[in-house]
Amino acid sequence: MSEQTGMITMQLMGKNYQVPTGLTIMAAIEYAGYKLVRGAGCRGGFCGACPTLYRRSDNHRIFTALACQTLVEDGMCLVQMPFVPVVSRRYDLHQIAAKPNTLLQHFPEIAGCVACNTCTRACPQGLQVMDYVQASLRGDIERAAMLSFDCIACGICSSRCPADIKHYAVGLLARRLYGKYVTPDSPQLAARVAELQTGNLIADLNALMALSQEELRARYEQRTFETSEENKEPFSAIQHYNSPMDPVDYKDEIEV
């Protein structure tokens, strides 16, 4: 256990704390006695609530990280940056069109991008942030949507950008435009929605609703399974999923 209890020193907002190795930055901050209110959300790398800036003693640069996804290191000098103000103009997606200059009109500041690529280097998701800003600038909505897709809106890029660009808001509009206007609507879905209006499908449902529990179980057992697209054989994970028995059958709620 000796290595596991090995301690390192982290400098949090200018104060030194001894924390065990192997913790995430977030866990280390909590270990030190901080109760996080801001600076933690999903704790799993999905929400962008935990952007962190830090320096190392052996390098002059500022590094960035998600506190919940990064190990604390000895000598790290860090601060959490729980909020990057973003105020952007409201829009009604239904009233705007996906034109080459739509993004520029909504975010004129993207024209100020000096292509320093600071945003890309800062992005904890490893996205090509400058490239999606540049794609937005030239009206390539598809490219901007694709490149920005994994953005979790942590705001680190926006805090570092010399041109004060609101990257993640730009990416969001690009993706919504792409999803709504650039990709075609699903014909199958449209057909299904129309079919629902006719009421036939609802009649089938009502018929199931009218069955007794035994009849319903029988119908359930008789389900046929769609074959998996690639190998045309039933995908076993699906069929084996369901427990053959009811948890409620053999241990019921206790009455008191």
């Binding site: 192997g22 866990a27 909590e30 996080l36 209110v37 999903c42 199931l208 359930y220 769609e226």
Partner: protein, 549 residues
């Protein structure tokens, strides 16, 4: 700690054994259990059946319902504010209060406005930031029967069977018949689902579904839906107060719900909201860490809504059944509890113990699989980690061996990226897993329009119960927060139109609740709701001084 390609030396020793047995395990899968064996295993090892893990609720409309102690503790707890709190100064006077800014809350707000409410008369109050929620974390997908050889009826069957027929049929009916309308709505909002060139959705299978009806947006389905919804709500000018959880519901003199007491987490100042209708959308409870399990859930998933609603008299259902996902990450620490998709086993990775031996069929039902992992660890055959928890190996490299090199990278890119971040190459080394607390199956009882048993109070999303019965299928909860968020939003907007602003606000229901608690013989200093779990270090807390500053 010295790591060798991501793992400490002690774990490396076990990995060597896994590698040794791999050739003989290939093509030889551990046999599936008989129903009898499964039953025995579940009763012996599943957390839901663990003796002594639960106790019955002693008072209120759900008296007798078995709850994990961690949850029961919160029902048997004192309120954070006393019933005599001064309620005369109303801070926000609105038509509709929505408690919880996750998926369900945001959908409800949008549809309440679509149904005619003035956006400035709607308020979303949420605990963390708008969108910090379980919704954002969902990866896999959302179900909807919209292909020709699929139907809402088929979807209905799958959901009912998945829930062991404990679901409320009228809720499932609403769920499956609204599903295509929801996806259509998302399409109009610009949600970037994976599509083929014609615009049809790329559909995946999901556990328990007989058709491929899982719509996804890469591995970020929940994130993509949530950020679009949040953007839409912003564009509709719907006000949101962040870092302001509700800590108690308010009632009027008739006992109808009439708003809530919020608390600003930073100033600790309370804030009275008076509302003609209130929708609770506070999500799940993973952060209660039932039986000390890690969880996939977000930081604020602490069952607050259940407590608040129960105190106001709402009925609950199915809270005895909690969903544990068999494969949560167990190593490294920073991934602990995070979800490892079922697909990894589906593609051939076998679970093996510390000696490199198989001990369970890889695709047993989730609850059985999870129980087998737990049993293995309790037999001392798990693999200990430096941070204290144990796990079993999931022999990930088998996927590439079976399906050819490169399969992991292309078919499981998110998993691959996640492990790579922490220096582990899952194409070469096995990954360590252990069951993780995933989903609150039950919750507040509602009708198909989200109305609870208390007038003025609606519920939607993970906090509501009944639609999934005792077991939810993957892809049905992203769906349910949309379906019932929408229905609750519309129903509440209609209800609001017929209501006058409540005149007298009261916390009498809280006083009554405390009386019931006393009558049941419960004496406690615990308080609820929990709001946030406490992960502060023991060492730090030992010297904590609670001084006024």
């Amino acid at each position: 700690m010295e790591l060798i390609d991501g793992y400490p030396a002690a774990m490396r020793e076990s990995i060597a054994l896994v590698e040794q047995t791999r050739p003989t395990r290939l093509g030889r899968t551990f046999p599936a259990m008989t129903p009898e064996q499964r039953r025995e295993l579940l009763l012996g090892h599943h957390p839901d059946y663990k003796d002594g893990a639960k106790r019955p609720l002693l008072f209120g409309p759900n008296k007798g319902m078995l709850l994990n102690h961690e949850l029961a503790d919160l029902f048997e707890a004192r309120p954070l504010v006393s019933a005599s709190l001064d309620l005369n100064d109303v801070d926000s006077d609105v038509d509709l209060l929505i408690i919880g800014g996750g998926g369900a809350g945001t959908v409800a707000a949008i549809w309440a406005v679509q149904a005619g409410l003035d956006p400035s008369r709607v308020l979303i109050a949420t605990k963390l930031r708008h969108g910090d929620s379980n919704s954002t974390m969902a990866q896999g997908g959302i179900q909807s029967a919209d292909r020709p050889h699929d139907s809402p009826a088929q979807h209905f069957l799958d959901a009912m069977g998945g829930g062991h027929f404990t679901n409320r049929p009228e809720l499932v009916e609403a769920l499956v018949s609204d599903a295509p309308l929801i996806i259509h709505w998302h399409e109009q909002l610009g949600v970037m689902y994976d599509k083929d060139e014609q615009g049809n959705f790329v559909m995946h299978p999901g556990g328990g579904t007989s058709r491929n009806r899982m719509h996804s947006a890469r591995d970020y389905t929940g994130l993509e839906i949530m950020r679009v919804l949040r953007d839409e709500a912003r564009n509709l000018h719907i006000p949101v107060v962040e870092f302001s959880p509700a800590i108690e519901l308010l009632c009027d003199e008739r006992g109808h719900v009439a708003g809530a007491v919020l608390v600003n987490l930073e100033t600790k100042r309370y804030h009275i909201v008076r509302a003609k209708a209130t929708i609770v959308t506070t999500g799940g409870l993973g952060r209660l860490h039932m039986q000390q399990y890690p969880t996939t859930n977000h930081y604020g998933a602490t069952a607050d809504g259940l407590i608040l609603a129960y105190r106001a008299g709402a009925e609950l259902v199915d809270l005895d059944a909690i969903q544990y996902h068999p494969t949560g990450a167990a190593f490294p620490a920073q991934m602990a509890g995070l979800l490892i998709t079922e697909k990894v086993r589906g593609m051939g990775a076998q679970p093996v113990n510390c000696k490199g031996e198989q001990f369970v069929y890889p695709l047993e039902p989730r609850d059985v699989e999870a129980s087998a992992f737990i049993r293995e660890c309790s037999l001392g055959l798990g693999i200990p980690t430096p941070h204290g928890i144990q796990g079993v190996w999931l022999d990930a490299p088998m996927v590439d061996i079976i399906h050819g090199p490169g399969t992991i990278r292309s078919a499981l890119p998110a998993m691959f990226r996640m492990y790579t971040r922490f220096g582990i190459d899952m194409t070469r080394d096995p990954i360590l897993v252990f069951p993780t607390l995933h989903y609150q199956n039950g919750g507040i009882i509602t009708n198909p329009d989200g109305a609870t048993t208390v007038p003025g109070l609606y519920a939607a999303g993970e906090v509501m119960g009944g639609v999934h019965g005792k077991n939810r299928l993957m892809g049905n909860s992203l769906l349910d927060f949309n379906v019932f968020g929408r229905r609750a939003g519309i129903a509440a907007a209609n209800y609001v139109r017929e209501q006058a602003q409540p005149t007298r606000l009261s916390l009498e229901h809280v006083a009554t609740y405390e009386r019931h608690m006393r009558d049941a013989g419960i004496k406690t200093t615990r308080t609820a709701p929990r709001i946030l779990p406490d992960y502060r270090g023991k060492e730090a807390l030992e010297r904590y001084l609670d001084i006024p500053l």
